[in-house]
């Protein structure tokens, strides 16, 4: 990465402006509807958090560089150049108060994909040196250690040994010619070790072979969150190299939202080539196993459950039906939140927000949206399929004295697995 300066930030930001961006800025009529779709606005009432406002420096740059009138204004000194302070100020808006959830892009009446642009403005702000400390730290650890939370291979191997000791299940590392390359998120390794055991049991029952790569086990991509494509590319390339080395058909993204987006959609574009393997979210894979009759479960949960849709899965990933199909295998009392599926509300911590310490207050305020959704339902259990959502949901519920356990869907299914007869 080159040295962060305003000049570099502006240059990088300029490079982000493409035809869709120009069409979007030409179309916005300042109607304010995007604010109503954004939980950072609805839960704070601060108009600065209106999604389209988070793009103001980028809009001005577009006007100054790519429109006739803007260029004339610039020539005769009528336009305001972008300043370093301004980018610093906007850093709070685009990193602390945006989880890239994409809800604003669904409601904009002129059809602007606002979150697409916020993802891109982050490239410029980070190149100018205004990315939040927390994300810089996570990104540095991801590059140097291989995981944004600093999880080493050794820690993962220890966990694999523990699983072997307690359940007898082998966690395969670096196997060639298997069906799946399984990726994990650090959050899971640290907080939800049950996930790894769950997939080991499910794949064993389904008769699928799989492996973890000791060089590329981390699925999350801080480069995407902070908005530095060079780093995002480096992190994705580790996974691609491992998948090609082990000649797998499918790479499985873990219960994480942005990791899926990073590898499934951004990955090939970052690498500049198509992948010789497919990328699926674990929930997609499990639903395929279900459809093929390879996922055999027993026992039914009769407690009242609802599902929190990870934004990156529903609005960016198109994985909406699959978790519901799976839940209905083991739950009889499944209810939907008022806004669910494509119009779900974010947990408040996606898109890197959870890695930013200074954003803790606003992140918990944003959780109030989820709280009011849950208050309407009075469920016994909250199921989700993203470790990052899960941490935020647990923290938000605790903060609000709500005693609702949060469960990962994969683990819940593993708990109901029909044990193979020897």
């Amino acid at each position: 990465m080159s040295k962060a300066t305003l000049q570099r930030g502006v240059q990088i930001l300029k490079e982000q402006i493409d035809a869709p961006t120009a069409a979007y800025f030409s179309s916005c009529v300042h109607c304010g509807m995007c604010a109503e779709a954004c939980l950072f606005y609805t839960e704070t009432g601060d108009p600065a958090y209106t999604p389209i406002n988070k793009l103001e420096p980028m809009r001005r740059l577009w006007e100054q560089e790519y429109t006739l009138v803007g260029r004339i204004k610039k020539l005769i000194g009528l336009s305001q150049p972008i300043t370093d302070e301004e980018l610093g100020e906007w850093s709070d808006l685009v990193y602390h108060a945006c989880s890239l959830c994409g809800r604003c892009s669904m409601v904009c009446p002129v059809g602007n994909d606002i979150s697409y642009m916020i993802r891109n403005i982050r490239e410029g702000i980070s190149a100018a040196g205004h990315a939040p400390e927390g994300l810089i730290g996570a990104t540095t650890r991801a590059v140097e250690i291989g995981s944004p939370m600093g999880i080493t291979l050794h820690a993962l191997q220890t966990q694999a040994r523990n699983i072997k000791e307690s359940s007898g299940l082998e966690i395969p590392f670096d196997q060639e010619g298997v069906d799946y390359l399984v990726l994990l998120s650090s959050m899971e390794v640290i907080n939800f070790p049950e996930y790894l055991e769950a997939i080991a049991r499910i794949f064993k029952q389904a008769g699928k072979s799989w492996t973890i790569s000791s060089e590329a086990f981390e699925a999350t991509n801080s480069g995407i969150q902070i908005g530095t494509s060079d780093i995002a590319r480096e992190l994705v390339s580790r996974v691609v190299e491992a998948a090609e080395k082990f000649k797998v058909n499918t790479v499985i993204s873990p219960e994480c939202g942005h990791a899926y987006t990073a590898i499934r959609w951004d990955g090939p574009n970052l690498m500049g080539r198509r992948f010789p393997f497919r990328v699926k979210h674990i929930i997609e894979v499990l639903d395929e196993l279900r459809a093929e009759g390879l996922l055999k479960v027993e026992g039914i949960e009769d407690s009242c459950m609802t599902f929190h849709d990870p934004c990156q899965l529903v609005r960016k990933g198109g994985v909406i039906e699959q978790p519901r199909n799976l839940l209905n295998m083991v739950a009889t009392n499944f209810v939907e939140m008022e806004d669910h599926g494509a119009m779900n509300w974010c947990c408040g911590a996606g898109g890197g927000v959870s890695a930013i310490e200074e954003a803790a207050d606003i992140r918990l305020k944003a959780f109030n949206r989820k709280k009011s959704q849950l208050d309407q339902l009075q469920v016994d259990t909250l199921v989700t399929a993203c470790a990052n959502c899960r941490i935020q949901l647990e923290e938000g519920l605790e903060e609000n004295d709500m005693e609702i356990p949060v469960v990962g869907l994969t683990e819940m299914l593993a708990d109901h697995l029909v044990e193979d007869q020897p």
Partner: protein
């Protein structure tokens, strides 16, 4: 200049100048957008981007769901009635069709003028409601710039002067008609250089958003 000379000018050279600026300006704007291009998507596609893009051009005119409609009900109602009123007035009033026929070479049936008059009133009331919202709603007020007020006035004036001409209000008809045409020309001249471009570019925006979503197999 008497009223006849004035009317002659706005109908002749004035209109030509305005139309030229509008057409050339919009062509430049569209060129500016498309010349920026866009990177090819190399990810394995899950759906057809083209059909989703085309579909979104139309579907985005409606709110995505009931709750989003409820949250922005004022903007939806006022926005719809303004746009419908405006489009009816522009395209279904006999003299407007005659003008467009002289430019395009073909015509279409008009609505009875008193009906169009009603739509004019609806458009003006809606536009005033939207201005009131712009001045009072914290978000819209925060977002608004001087350009938003300028294009509000530029849109309101042709409606008002058209209404006044039809009802022969306060001023001699020929002057009113001349001023009405002049305000419409002012709107045309502002068009390519302001947010008024949304009337055309929203098709491009919806297309790109719909296409990118369709390739991922997600809703748009």
């Amino acid at each position: 200049m008497n009223s006849a000379e004035f009317l002659l000018w706005v109908r002749g050279p004035g209109l030509n100048i305005a139309m030229a600026i509008f057409i050339i300006g919009m062509l430049i704007r569209l060129l500016e957008i498309f010349m920026l291009g866009r990177k090819r998507n190399l990810a394995e596609l899950r759906g057809n981007g083209v059909s989703a893009g085309l579909r979104t051009i139309f579907t985005r005119s409606a709110p995505p769901d009931k709750n989003s409609l409820r949250r922005s009900i004022f903007t939806y109602v006022a926005g719809y009635s303004f746009h419908i009123g405006l489009l009816v007035v522009i395209f279904l009033l006999t003299p407007h069709i005659q003008l467009l026929q002289s430019l395009l070479g073909f015509a279409w049936p008009a609505l009875p003028t008193p009906v169009v008059d009603l739509f004019t009133v609806i458009a003006m009331i809606s536009l005033m409601a939207l201005l009131w919202r712009r001045l009072t709603h914290p978000v819209v007020r925060y977002l608004s710039t001087s350009q938003d007020y300028l294009i509000w006035a530029a849109t309101f004036l042709p409606l008002l002067t058209g209404y006044m001409s039809y009802h022969h209000l306060w001023f001699p008809y020929s002057w009113l008609l001349g001023v009405h045409i002049l305000t419409a020309e002012f709107l045309l001249i502002l068009f390519p250089f302001t947010r008024l471009t949304h009337a055309f570019t929203l098709i491009i925006s919806r297309w790109y958003t719909g296409m990118m979503a369709g390739e991922k197999g997600v809703a748009s």
